[in-house]
Symmetry: C2
Subunit: 455 residues, 2 copies
């Protein structure tokens, strides 16, 4: 059996502070330049040089405001706020790259499927088939309040809406314009043959879309579908729709549990479990030697922000952590959610007594997943091992000091991974779906629900 490829995506958000809290203060960080084309162009060129499948762009349509009941802490550390529209940085990156894919987060709760189908097709045209869509349903109350909802739609109903939303977009992408509908026959005066363009006549519970798709089909038609929710509704949704799944956990064994659950869900929906490519969030801190890397880690840790971490966890747990004593062991916390969080870390390092301060320093560099620290060989070893235990296909690599972290990884670790046959020297295929399914396979698999709408 040949060595399985280690699939790599860059992980960013169109904001200052995403997975790392306070690291914008590090002298090497250019994260504050997220507003510029230059920043994204450089990022994309680094990742393509490193043979990454895609840049994965997270998004949130509301600020974090659970901590102290205010956006103040999020603003002080630039965590998710200020932020920009993630779709708009893609065309600039596409203009300077030829192979790198882009997986972008868009919520089904605040869009109309008719318009979003056009948006995704436009991106797939402009990138010539390099687009993925990370489907989210948006959990933030702060988004709901500002986007026309009196209150948040309940979690499970958001997934029902999302499910119908997907069906509408599949009909538009796969079932409206036949292959060959665009004939561009100047002599006959026919640009598109109306007999090959079909109204989808969708009338459902949440959406009514009678018409034809506005856009002619792109190379991939349906973008590569990503999903990240690991709730019960979320993993069922992923099992049905996702081609890429994004998991966030600190331990490989827990990632393995998630991975198996997602693959079982895919099988339950009549799909090959290996059609789901599973990526775990991770951060790499490297250097010429293990010692240099450890020094670099200490350097990065010295910029982590306790308040920023508390603000982020408060939003994740939906519990205001402002009252915690930063130096009091967390295992005594009165709130169940907090003790649950601590249990995870305790299993990783049973001898350590976690306090808010020590935890902030630990996860402040790589919030959401493991931090691999060491020489290129050590990092490669640990990544290989983690991938094997977790039964995953690769990593979504965060960058605490964007884009320097990605640059160091590509310059130092990728050559080592290439020596081991883990990262390709040349992209095989030209579209994101081919990276997932194999060269020549630009369309969804026959077992994917989008395929049911093909003509």
């Amino acid at each position: 059996m040949s060595t399985p490829r280690m699939r790599l995506n860059g992980l960013r958000q169109n904001t200052v502070g995403h997975t790392a809290m306070g690291l914008w203060r590090h002298p090497d960080s250019r994260a504050h330049e997220y507003r510029t084309i230059r920043h994204w162009v450089e990022t994309a060129q680094i990742l393509e040089r490193g043979g990454f499948d895609a840049l994965f762009i997270a998004d949130a349509l509301g600020p974090l405001e659970v901590y102290q009941g205010s956006v103040a802490a999020a603003l002080r550390d630039g965590i998710q706020t200020p932020t920009g529209n993630p779709l708009l940085v893609i065309p600039a990156m596409a203009a300077v790259t030829r192979r790198l894919g882009f997986a972008v987060t868009v919520s089904t709760t605040y869009e109309q499927p008719y318009a979003l189908a056009r948006t995704m097709t436009t991106l797939d045209h402009l990138t010539e088939g390099r687009i993925g869509w990370n489907v989210v349903t948006s959990a933030l109350d702060s988004a709901a309040r500002n986007l026309g909802l009196d209150r948040q739609i309940p979690h499970d109903e958001r997934y029902l809406i999302a499910d119908e939303f997907m069906d509408v977009t599949y009909k538009l992408w796969e079932g409206s314009w036949e292959d060959g509908a665009v004939v561009r026959d100047a002599e006959a005066g026919v640009f598109a043959d109306p007999a090959k363009v079909h109204a989808i006549e969708h009338r459902g519970t949440y959406f009514s879309v009678p018409g034809i798709a506005l856009s002619e089909p792109s190379v991939q038609r349906t973008p590569v579908i990503f999903q990240a929710g690991s709730s019960s509704s979320g993993s069922s949704f992923a099992g049905r729709h996702a081609e890429g799944v994004f998991v966030s956990t600190y331990k490989a064994e827990m990632a393995c549990d998630l991975s198996r659950r997602f693959r079982a869900q895919a099988a339950a929906h009549g799909r090959d479990p290996q059609e789901l490519k599973i990526f775990a969030i991770a951060t790499v801190v490297t250097g010429a030697t293990d010692e240099a890397a450890q020094d670099r880690l200490k350097d990065l840790q010295s910029y982590t922000s306790l308040e920023g971490s508390l603000a982020r966890w408060s939003a994740l747990l939906d519990i205001d952590l402002a009252g915690l004593d930063p130096d009091k062991p967390l295992r005594h916390a009165e709130t169940e959610g907090i003790r649950g969080l601590v249990d995870v870390f305790t299993t990783m390092d049973p001898d350590r007594e976690w306090t808010p301060r020590s935890l902030a320093q630990f996860v402040g560099v790589g919030g959401g997943g493991p931090v691999f620290v060491g020489s290129p060989a050590r990092v490669a070893d640990e990544m290989e091992q983690w991938m094997e235990i977790a039964e995953i296909d690769g990593f979504n690599l965060a960058d605490p000091i964007a884009p320097a972290g990605h640059r160091e990884f590509v310059d130092l670790v990728v050559p080592e991974l290439r020596r081991r046959g883990r990262v390709w020297n040349e992209y095989e295929g030209e579209t994101l779906r081919e990276y997932f399914r194999g060269a020549g396979l630009t369309r969804v698999a026959d077992t994917h629900p989008a395929a049911a709408h093909r003509r």
Copy 2:
């Protein structure tokens, strides 16, 4: 008094056939490449070379389907369908230009102001202050039906919604983040100062937006506001909000009536009427000599599409013109709307008996406005004269054979206009608003309603 500048915008839609019907069949047309980055990059570079203020991008979220009650004719000539999202071509063009502005059409009927404010700010950041927003309220029933509305919202109510929509976005752009809110003080650990970022607390008839703006302010803050509706509600809306107005008429005298009406509306809203820059749609067909240009016009006319023109007018008039005899004089038409259309052309050429076929050939090249035909000197003469009679500030130049039409204009006519001091050799300023208001003036005028929300 110095010669007033002739302001030029390119006019396109992210589609195959926009103002010209059937011209996609011309061998010089690359309009079908609207799906590619290359096409837009080339277009932008041509316009910037010609000193254009901006590329104006029209949009429609539904297909034309009044003619024969079907989308068939629109599909056959690629008129507005297929189409792509106009926002997404801008970052690719911004990456290869430094000065050209971009005025993009987005409807207030199908967006949430909270999200759109972020989108526009993102574009203004990425372009470093070169964004304009053409505000439309979307008249197409085909869009309403597919985008979650049971029926079209009545025209005047759409403008009431648009008015409140504008106020919400102004509050987000001008009133939420103070100048200097982003301090990026690494030592103090403060990226943004929460004391300088304010919740807008908007609670109105159509929108409730209590929160802070998601994005830090861009160079222009509020994008340059364009408007195109010339109904009573539309011109009042323009008088209040617009900095650029787009008029579509075949005769300079009629454009003058519109221009005066818009400026009067601006004055009625307490603004300097000259703060409104008025652009008329026009098409130029040129060549080395008048004779060469006339030959070029005949060449272009031979590709016009009768059915395409009927499909477009049917949508504009909301009357199915399918039953008309193509060779029967239109002045005998039984429908008032059709006779009204013909009256316009009859005043231009009283001796001509217009039939659907002759009209299609006439307006098929430059639908919506005058077609200036001739040597560079003749075209420059006629444009100057039209501009003077119409009391306008410049033109939105359509391109029937994109991008060759714009290239010919820039290569042949712009040098002549530069000799006459009508087109600048160097952009004065770096942002779109400076081109409108003068170098150094990157923000809205004090009399603009957005300014009321400044802190």
